[in-house]
Assembly symmetry: C2
Homo-oligomer: 457 residues x 2
């Protein structure tokens, strides 16, 4: 077994410089050793490549000279191209052998594209409506071609603008319930489940990013951390000194490391979701691995709650976003409530796995016993989810990667006030889970924290 070196994460300022130097090199050559046959594609080389794939050629129509190719990657890791032809369009994502945001000083394995592709294929079987159709995977180029989400926008951006997505809660609850249930031991025979675990065990490099950035760094003095300073210096210090919090977060980290419950998306926040008013698509499952179900659910809920606390920073007039805030909290409740109901329905309808075998829970009494077992299971999942939500809310305020929900609030005092409320709920979720036995208690407390701030301001 190999002992891995600590990744040379860098600070954002260094990242900006690295990004500049990367751009100078965007001619398809990279200095990091890559497997034979790998080359980073460019606006110029992508179209001829795609023209060689008959199904893609047919989808786009016409000839490659007429295709419009734009590199749109605004994420941190990869190249992303939109390609438009006379007949249709598509999206191409290619892994680079390093973290794009930082540059070659932070190498990152190309194989993440393989994991992303595998996860998308598996999840598509269970939640086809919520995953962009996979059109092609190239093993040598670590490249995925998929249907373009159009006219969708990244949900986080829509929420910053205060846009309501009426179908979102139902869509995402279906996605969560189906992808988590059907890859769990309740649905899969043990041998299939173990194959799934083994297949994704190799995605440790991306898991390690989560382990470090979410569960460790924000609780330490660490060069990679940043926060609105000096406004939140006291909060950051208090969190670093809170031993009960560090215990709670570490218990969740151990769950993340060892509980192989279901195939997770692994990075399910509002930046990994593309929406219109009527449709919801989940993208970017490159952090996928078999882990605790509560992680996907909680990361999403935490990001919705962060958006809630950020809204004050985007108001032109106080109270302007009251209605939107109510919609976000209703959405938090609805996501959980629908997820729980759907997960239970799937479990009852498809008890095809080796856990809780159908043969043990037959007849009226058996069905009641199974319902009791489901309730217990979902309570534990809910408890985990609240903990993971708290972790997500803290790391995006005090760690390396922040959310534009907060970052785009220009006045640092105003931003810090929003972030402080966010941290307050996060700590309560982690330290006092017994206060939040029902999802309505979470939203009520969020509203209470927000209202107290309004009154005091």
């Amino acid at each position: 077994m190999l002992r891995r070196k600590v990744l040379p994460y860098q600070q954002p300022r260094a990242a900006q410089a690295a990004k500049a130097s990367l751009e100078e090199e965007e001619n398809g050559t990279v200095a990091i050793a890559t497997p034979d046959g790998y080359r980073a594609l460019t606006d110029a080389t992508l179209a001829p490549y795609l023209a060689g794939l008959p199904a893609i050629q047919a989808r786009l129509g016409g000839s490659p000279e007429g295709w419009k190719v734009i590199e749109v990657g605004d994420g941190n890791l990869n190249l992303v191209f939109i390609v438009e032809g006379p007949r249709g369009d598509l999206c191409v994502k290619q892994a680079l052998p390093y973290v794009r945001l930082v540059g070659e000083s932070w190498p990152l394995g190309l194989k993440r594209a393989w994991f992303e592709h595998r996860a998308a294929v598996i999840q598509s079987r269970h939640a086809p409506e919520q995953i962009p159709e996979v059109l092609h995977y190239d093993e040598q180029l670590y490249l995925i071609a998929m249907a373009r989400c159009h006219p969708h926008v990244i949900m986080r951006r829509g929420m910053i603008e205060g846009i309501v997505y009426p179908g979102f809660a139902a869509h995402i609850a279906e996605y969560l319930a189906a992808t988590l249930y059907f890859t769990s031991d309740m649905a899969l025979p043990a041998a299939e489940k173990k194959e799934l675990i083994a297949a994704f065990c190799g995605n440790t490099e991306l898991c390690k990013i989560t382990e470090d950035l979410i569960f460790t760094d924000p609780y330490l003095i660490c060069d990679r951390n940043r926060w609105t300073s000096p406004q939140l210096d006291d909060e950051a210090a208090a969190i670093r000194g809170d031993d009960a919090l560090k215990r709670a977060v570490s218990a969740l980290k151990l769950k993340f490391l060892s509980e192989a419950q279901a195939l997770l998306h692994g990075d399910l926040h509002t930046g990994s979701i593309m929406v219109t008013e009527g449709d919801t698509k989940v993208i970017d499952p490159e952090f996928a691995f078999v882990g605790p179900m509560g992680f996907d659910v909680g990361k999403l809920l935490g990001n919705l709650l962060m958006s809630f606390f950020s809204q004050q920073g985007h108001e032109q007039a106080r109270g302007e976003r009251d209605g939107y805030r109510r919609w976000i909290l209703a959405t938090v409740e609805e996501v959980w409530t629908r997820f729980e109901r759907r997960f239970r329905e799937l479990w009852t309808a498809y008890p095809t796995g080796d856990a809780y075998p159908r043969s043990l829970f037959e007849g009226q009494a058996g069905r009641e016993a199974l319902r009791t077992a489901q309730t217990g299971h979902l309570q534990r999942l809910y408890r985990d989810a609240l903990g993971f939500a708290g972790c997500a809310m803290i790391r995006r305020t005090l760690g390396l990667a922040h959310n534009i929900d907060m970052e785009w609030i220009e006045d640092p005092d105003r931003r810090a006030a929003c972030e402080r409320r966010n941290l307050r709920l996060a700590r309560e979720l982690l330290l006092h889970p017994a206060r939040f036995d029902a999802i309505g208690q979470v939203t009520a407390r969020a509203a209470e924290i927000e209202a107290a701030a309004g009154a005091g301001a």
Copy 2:
């Protein structure tokens, strides 16, 4: 992913017949297709094979014609040979492509020898005193040569005779603490841990035996089950009808399927332990996989408790084994108490893994927080262990495989009385874990159940 067929388990009587037909075939040819280069060795072909291995030849001394080879396999699955030469001796274990106890009608993958060898090598690093030294592994023959445990006996047989093993609790607690701790996320970096998980994910065929025989069959009407009948017919029916029990057992099965905490032995009962008064060796880790720590601990405790309840059946005069019973209960307590202390010590001394990272728990307050976390972790492990103990005690009374502790009590009424007391404690462990917050409450309750039986008899 493959969907596996249910294994054609057979009943013991069929097994006897199959064993006879197997013996007729013990000329090295088997009808099941095997990989190139595989052949089952015999008393006659083993010595020439070993003579080709210089280190083995040197260990045994002399020439192969003078070596004494005896096939001694009394287990259910494999060929086991003892080889004695003029200078030294050793033990050779070879996998057959089927379950030896049953015959070719129950095929079983040869690769279990690979898992056994890997597990023995890994565990040897952490508990060298408790594992027979591995001398050689042959990948083509699925054969392990190891140091012979001599003059050790299988612990279960010694306990049937009422023999005290004064060093046992200390040895096995060290084995459990070291093998479980050092393969956990508290000791291993995540990438190494994931490699370990992946390496053992392939051992599903043996895990499936556990999943079926321990967590499923005894709670169903199933051809593979057997019990002392008609004496225990009421108990068997009551257990099949106990929905709360089935829920508790199914929750433990889910843990077994999904909680990848540490590399387990996977079958740690008193039949997998060889002892003298001064030494303890653990053998047969072919069921090894990365699972919940409480499974190894609990299976062992459950088997000790079964031995406790079986003692009355081996008494010539009532009360003759009172002292031995006290020793068993003291051993149950000591195994847990020493394990818990040692696990905590190792955690404190070697916080080298990614869970509960050292950097988060520095200074006096950090050390105290870590102690609190350790206490919580060990409480959960203890709770799991009691549940798994209960499962082991039930399956060995109502399922396919029984223990000679009970089987060797010839009078069925007497045997059934012992088994009934065993089932009583097992059910309480599963249904009322809150009554057993300390290990002393388990042993006190065992003594109480035993005493009530004595008074009533």
